[in-house]
């Protein structure tokens, strides 16, 4: 029999091997029947379930809301690039979702969706888990996998002038990319200040010079110093 769920402020019942095994059996049974899930045989330590992309959102919503499983925490979203992987004959990419429960210590599950190189997209789950917004942005940034329906699919870690997706296996390992502007957040900050009724002074130190203006790129020079506003 499974453990009792932990209430608010309570620690969940400690996980045992029996509880883990029992959870895996039950959850795989349900996923296989309802969402055409298959077992990932490469996972020999936990449970990884391969889903078709079209059933992903239904499955995530079900697992989150189910009283039985309560997988209410999206720990991580990432991807795998199988390019050059020995013996791999399926789609090039896989997007991986790590779920766990805050009520049952034994409930941990990994979902995997295979993604072809041509389409390179999966449905977004940002409306099911708020944290998925940034996790999907990071996966887009590093692997170039698009999340359909994502409201704000911008790069998260790499700078705004970066070209390509560095964790793809065919990204040149020694390639370096310079950023030419010293603060891309200044323009949005100015806009936000104006939106709140502040007056932003032109040329008052917040307008950043570009890298050419500052003489960056290995040529230190002190000729051009940023003009700064003065206090009254």
């Amino acid at each position: 029999m499974s453990a009792q769920p932990a209430g608010p402020g309570q620690a969940p019942t400690p996980a045992t091997d029996e509880l883990r095994q029992e959870f895996r059996t039950r959850v795989f049974q349900v996923l296989a029947q309802t969402f055409q899930a298959e077992l990932e045989p490469a996972d020999r330590w936990g449970l990884t379930v391969v889903l078709p992309g079209s059933r992903l959102r239904d499955a995530v919503a079900f697992l989150r809301d189910s009283e039985e499983f309560r997988l209410d925490m999206m720990v991580d979203i990432t991807a795998i690039d199988y390019l050059g992987y020995p013996g791999h004959d399926q789609a090039r990419f896989a997007v991986v979702y790590n779920l766990k429960s805050t009520a049952y210590a034994a409930h941990r599950l990994r979902l995997k969706v295979r993604v072809e190189e041509e389409s390179a997209s999966v449905p977004s789950v940002h409306d099911l888990f708020a944290i998925a917004n940034w996790q999907e942005r990071e996966t887009w940034d590093q692997y170039g996998i698009a999340f359909d329906g994502h409201p704000d699919l911008r790069r998260l870690l790499n700078h705004i002038e970066f070209v390509g997706h560095p964790l793809r296996k065919d990204y040149p390992a020694r390639k370096r990319q310079w950023l030419s502007t010293n603060d891309p957040l200044v323009a949005p900050l100015d806009a936000r200040l104006r939106g709140r009724g502040f007056e932003v002074l032109e040329g008052a130190g917040l307008n950043s010079p570009t890298v050419e203006e500052t003489g960056l790129l290995g040529k230190p020079s002190v000729e051009k110093i940023n003009v700064v506003g003065r206090h009254k």
Partner: protein
């Protein structure tokens, strides 16, 4: 230290254990009246090197070691550099302690440009000096790609003693610089520019 009245004329270093200042006098009576002679270069260098105001650009564990170096046990105040500022406009020593990415490089450069001259840069640890083991798409292979560095510190992270060794080297460098020659060059530049 002081010569007896009526002693012969002599030349000796007095007034400080600091060899760089090089205060000399020719006349013992002159010194007894509270005067000494020296050079502008020696005095300016002495003042600059003993009142460094560090600005910490700390991004990784090297900054934690800098905290240890600055706090009471190791006590960076012994070198006159304890007044740590968090504004580049108040400081003259930039301590780049940690990994710098390509995303940060233009920001580092801009902050360095905001410091008033004279200014110096310490490149602390493997990452700031060379990129360290982050030989990858995102990490700058050494901050000297964007700003000039005065002293590099080895280590991952360096111990406080390494910081002090670097500060002593930097003090020697500051003492060896010539304020008067720099001033003359600046004046010439102004005349050329018109």
């Amino acid at each position: 230290m002081g010569a007896a009245p009526g002693a012969e004329q002599q030349t000796e270093s007095v007034g400080t254990a600091d060899p760089g200042v090089g205060i000399h006098h020719q006349d013992a009576g002159f010194q007894q009246q509270g005067f000494m002679t020296t050079t502008i270069d020696a005095v300016v260098g002495w003042g600059r090197k003993n009142s460094l105001w560090p600005f910490t650009f700390g991004t990784a564990c090297c900054a934690i070691e800098f905290m240890a170096a600055a706090a009471s046990k190791y006590d960076i105040a012994r070198y006159g550099a304890e007044f740590i500022r968090f504004s580049p406009r108040h400081s003259d020593l930039m301590v780049v302690a940690g990994t710098i990415t390509y995303k940060q490089a233009p920001i580092l450069r801009r902050i360095w440009e905001q410091m008033l001259e004279p200014r110096w840069v310490l490149s602390v640890g493997a990452c700031a000096s060379t990129g360290g083991f982050y030989d990858c798409y995102c990490t700058l292979p050494g901050i000297d790609e964007v700003i000039p560095v005065d002293v590099y510190i080895a280590g991952c992270p360096p111990r406080p003693e390494a910081y002090f060794d670097a500060i002593l080297q930097l003090q020697q460098k500051i003492q060896d610089a010539s304020y008067m020659r720099d001033r003359q060059n600046r004046t010439h530049e102004r005349i050329h520019i018109g």
